[in-house]
Amino acid sequence: MRRKGKRSTGWLARALSVLVCLLAAGSWASAEESAKPTEPPASSPEDIARGLAQFRKMLTEDPWSNPAFLDADRGEAIWKEKRGPRKQSLETCDLGLGPGVVDGAYAELPRYFPDARRVMDVESRILWCMQRIQGFNAAKFLKSPHPASGQPVGEIGAVATWVASRSDKKSMMPRMAHPKEWEAVALGEALFNRRQGPFDFSCASCHGEKGKRIRLQSLAQLSNPVEARKVLGEWPAYRVSTAHVMTLQHRLLDCYWQMRLPPLRFGSETSVALIAYLKHVAQGAEIKAPGLKR
């Protein structure tokens, strides 16, 4: 399954993630030992804020400790392996910069693809290539496209993680040259603001104002370029709380779940339009992929 090249990176990431796990296990064990059947000590909001800030710092201090590099390695191997009914690799897949060009391609997505006659984000484009080049049946991937808590990200997500990592440190500049690309952004903006479902929520209900929180989780004002640039470049990201890589398609499904809407179809026009809108607002952001999130 694994191929030559990039082994050293994968090895380092693996070793460090094991170390992270050991450290986490250690602190958990010591917390267990010190636990007494009394009330926990009262902590002030300042204590909580300090603790959270330290947790976030630890998450990002050593970029190589991000377990998502393991998935990026896996994604690269999947990209290069001859697979599917046609026994082809994805190495001729055109991510927008020409067949097989991966470096920098993610920075310009989503974009309009004349061969598919629609705007695609990285995940829907990878699936499209798997169908057209390798002959895979999309239904297999659409049935359960996202990992459950603790499960590794699927094949499309792993490839997306690798593709995104090959635009690391580049500026996010989704293409806005074709009328369909403008249409996608406009549709995404309307969807972002559309209130619906039994809770009357739109995306803007939580992400429409600066400096707000849900419980202790800070929320980015995603209609604001300054705020959107801080977070949009960090996807796909390893999520510590669910212990797997989460892609933007998965993140949107999660938002719609929380909004009490039905399961959002992977790669649907709606999901791609929302990604197109968010990335358009965040254009110019530095890509820091894969990211690391709470």
Binding site: A186, R260, P262
Partner: protein, 208 residues
């Protein structure tokens, strides 16, 4: 020349796009476009679930005005939403604050993983509001509610205002971001009474 025209067309498209997103709301043709995209986004949804995708008149109006309706439109919304409020037959609006606290903590209910329901729906109030001083993990989208009842002298009219606000937030603030817990069938009348108690009962930790 053709290139210039194309650029002009794109600039126009750009201007239109930002204009209808930011100002006067979605034009009818565009609304049909959005409905179509949404319908395609949920191929597995049942008819009951698809109904959730259809905003009612109030939400449509709120979207049109970006949740800041002019005075007369706002008043029409308040009147329409006030008419949805149902009261307990015995007129008692204050329930049990202990149950209210549990409801305020719970975000359970109505997500697609919550069927068949394993427990009652929650109000998830702490997601957005600071309520009891004992709970430090609170959100800030809604106003702070510490000492709410005490601050309002536990008054009867204020108690009714809280009940109304919980039952249908648009009855007091048109285009409020808060869910219409009673009107949308999220919480029952008894659950709303328990949440009223959390804010308005002198014994509730909120007022200590």
């Amino acid at each position: 020349m053709i290139e210039r025209l194309a650029v002009l067309a794109l600039l126009l498209a750009a201007a239109t796009a930002s204009a209808w997103g930011q100002t006067v709301g979605v034009q009818p043709a565009e609304r049909a476009r959005i409905d179509r995209a949404l319908r395609a986004a949920f191929p597995t949804a049942s008819a009951a679930w698809l109904k959730r995708l259809v905003p009612d008149e109030t939400l449509r109006t709120c979207s049109t005005y970006h949740n800041a309706p002019p005075k007369d439109v706002g008043e029409a919304i308040m009147k329409r939403e006030r008419a949805t409020i149902k009261y307990p037959p015995d007129g008692k609006l204050v329930g049990d604050w202990r149950r209210g606290e549990k409801l305020a903590q719970s975000g359970y209910g109505m997500r697609f993983t919550d069927y068949p329901p394993k427990r009652e729906n929650g109000g998830n109030c702490y997601a957005c509001h600071q309520i009891s001083p004992r709970e430090e993990s609170y959100g800030s989208i809604g106003v702070k509610l510490l000492k709410y009842g005490k601050g309002h002298n536990f008054g009867a009219s204020e108690t009714k205002t809280v009940y109304d606000k919980l039952y249908n937030s648009h009855a007091t603030v048109p285009c409020s971001r808060m869910p219409r817990f009673g009107a949308n069938g999220i919480l029952t009348i008894d659950q709303i009474k328990d949440l009223v108690a959390l804010l308005m009962d002198p014994e509730s930790p909120v007022n200590k």
